[in-house]
């Protein structure tokens, strides 16, 4: 039973990582931009959840408002900053997004202070399923797992079955070719970027009730997402899915078996994958 709980936790964490990593890997795969500020969007989401839930008094109202805000932020950033970076060297993308992290962190500090905040679990979901006499499992975590699965499924359908998805796949495998075949690349880029931003913010919002809201929360998860993207192979959604779950489970089991070294287990996994398949699990080249 104890291991079932850990398994559920691992899957839930892995799926949450997937929401972030899929945006990161798409933004890289399609636009060729490495976005260090992706973790900041996760933080922005969590603080939006905290702020909007405080104002509106309802977590359910905060969710759509927060996603809307994140979409707007995403479009604004894409148009004003990122669109200038597409042709530039990765080095400058790293620097600009590093600057953005500093800006986001300081704005967060000015607006919300440096304290740790909590977001209440919505009343409908704030009870636990009893597994045995002593162990129980919070329904809210099951809810996160369910929502993430739903989103992952929707993402899969959009990318594999729709016209937009076709353009995204085309753009991700060969940008110039897709552009010369008449795909509206600037629009596609803005869409994908805003979408990735919203996914990351959404992940932050639904994670907020379980993980609390604290400074620097975005950077911590960003690096894990990089590991996911490296293991899965850049630009591959399927790879991101497999890698997210692997990392989620490795991290959770590591915390149980060797708490001090759990953070390192994840990087060891990455080192092994790098030796075995430097291009990532899914990528062919």
């Amino acid at each position: 039973m104890f291991y079932l709980i850990q398994l559920l936790n691992g899957v839930q964490y892995g799926l949450l990582l997937f929401l972030l990593a899929s945006g990161l890997t798409l933004i890289f795969g399609i636009m060729g931009v490495i976005n260090l500020a992706h973790g900041s969007f996760y933080m922005v989401g969590a603080y939006l959840a905290y702020w909007l839930a405080g104002i509106t008094g309802s977590f359910w109202l905060a969710l759509p408002l927060g996603v809307g805000t994140a979409l707007v932020i995403g479009v604004l950033l894409e148009v004003t900053l990122f669109s200038r970076l597409y042709k530039r060297d990765h080095l400058y993308q790293v620097l600009l997004t590093f600057g953005l992290i500093l800006i986001f962190e300081e704005l967060r500090s000015i607006l919300f202070g440096d304290d740790v905040h909590g977001v209440a679990v919505p009343a409908v979901l704030s009870y636990s399923v009893r597994l045995t006499d002593t162990l129980s499992y919070p329904v809210y975590r099951l809810f996160i797992t369910f929502v993430c699965l739903l989103l992952a499924g929707a993402l899969y359908l959009v990318i594999q079955k729709t016209r937009l998805g076709m353009m995204i796949r085309a753009g991700s495998s060969n940008r110039e070719m897709a552009a010369s075949l008449g795909v509206n690349i600037p629009l596609l880029f803005a869409l994908v970027f805003a979408f990735g931003t919203a996914l990351a913010a959404f992940a932050g919002m639904i994670a907020a009730p379980t993980s609390s809201v604290f400074p620097g929360m975005g950077n911590q998860i960003l690096i894990i997402c990089f590991v996911v993207v490296v293991i899965g192979g850049i630009g591959s959604i399927n790879g991101a899915m497999i890698a997210s779950l692997a990392i989620g489970l490795a991290d959770t089991l590591g915390k149980v078996l060797a708490p001090e070294f759990s953070a390192m287990a994840v990087y060891f996994l990455m080192a092994i994958i790098l030796l075995w398949r430097p291009q990532g699990l899914v990528n062919k080249t």
Binding site: V94, G99, L100, L102, M264, M270, L274
Partner: protein
């Protein structure tokens, strides 16, 4: 290089100013100067990778921090350690870590390289942050600075800020001279070739992997030197010394100064830290000084957009103007 005489004259003047600087006698500023020069060594070591080999490492603080931790871990609690012993140990440790990590990361390229170097640096961060090895997240103190002795005499006392300043200045000029020699040596030319076109270098028979790994290890060792000096100066290390924030900062110094020229890294270190001191001076910005990172972040974004080749460009621009005037004077 428009006019190397002009650039050289300016750099020589800079070195003389640095040598005369402790005459102002204010300990705070002397220590600040030493701190900047330590970061300049660190930035030069990263420039070897970023500017000269084309490897953008976002985890360079790992080797800086590791060497700092080595000093803290091998210094006895109540007596001074010997510089002759601790410095090589710290540098070898940093180089060894760079060898192991480099062996894994150098086989990747481009954006993978950025992410993987960051991830491995984070691994070392967690090692020191989560385990009791180096005092956990609290860090450890180095109560007594290492001693520099020759036989029974002590030519330099590291506890003295002015003498420490000159030690650091010596190291900085030494590293600068060494790297510039290296740049012109066959090894450096091969790195430049790899940066320009890796595939071509491979097809004309250069062992590209070996060269890149060599550069990575050397950069790690020099970062270790800087980290060792930093630990000496502050007498304290905590995991933040190898956090990715540090890696990002040093990368920013390299770009700010202008990569691919080692004096650019020095200029970048000075510009960045002086700017940081200025922005966080509460005398000037009052309550907003606490939020200096907001201004710094905005500035970084601006620099990427308008001055992508760095401040060293201004120096070269000066050289061009100087040359033009001389030609005009000569008729």
């Amino acid at each position: 290089m428009a006019n190397t005489h002009f650039t050289r004259a300016v750099l020589l003047l800079g070195a003389l100013l640095l040598a005369a600087f402790p005459l102002i006698g204010l300990t705070f500023y002397i220590q600040l100067g030493a701190k900047i020069m330590i970061m300049a060594i660190f930035a030069m070591s990263l420039d070897l990778l970023v500017g000269h080999t084309g490897l953008v490492s976002l985890g360079h603080a790992a080797y800086f921090g590791l060497a700092a931790y080595m000093l803290a871990l091998i210094t006895p609690k109540y007596e001074a350690a010997s510089l002759w012993l601790t410095l090589p140990v710290a540098i070898v440790a940093a180089a060894a870590a760079a060898l192991v990590i480099g062996f894994l990361v150098v086989r990747t390229g481009g954006v993978y390289f950025i992410m993987v170097t960051l991830a491995f640096a984070q691994m070392l961060y967690s090692l020191f942050h989560d385990t009791k090895l180096g005092g956990g997240s609290d860090g450890i103190y180095i109560n007594i600075r290492p001693e520099l002795t020759v036989g029974s005499i002590k030519p330099l006392d590291l506890e003295d800020p002015v003498q420490f300043y000159y030690l650091v200045l010596m190291f900085m000029l030494g590293v600068y001279a060494f790297l510039n020699k290296l740049r012109c040596a066959p090894f450096g030319r091969a790195l430049a070739g790899i940066r320009a076109n890796e595939n071509r270098m491979r097809s004309i028979g250069y062992p590209v992997f070996g060269y890149k790994l060599g550069a990575f290890v050397l950069a790690g060792a020099l970062a270790g030197l800087a980290g060792y000096l930093a630990a000496c100066q502050f007498g304290f290390v905590n995991p933040e010394i190898l956090a990715w924030h540090q890696s990002g900062t040093v990368l920013m110094m390299v770009i700010l100064g202008g990569m691919g020229r080692f004096h650019g890294a020095i200029i970048g270190a000075f510009a960045y830290i002086l700017l940081q001191e200025l922005l966080s001076a509460s005398a000037m910005f009052g309550a907003y000084a606490k939020h200096w990172q907001l201004a710094m972040g905005s500035l970084i974004v601006l620099i990427v957009l308008v001055l992508p080749r760095g401040l060293a460009d201004l120096l070269e621009y000066g050289a061009v103007v100087y040359k033009r005037q001389r030609m005009r004077a000569a008729g």
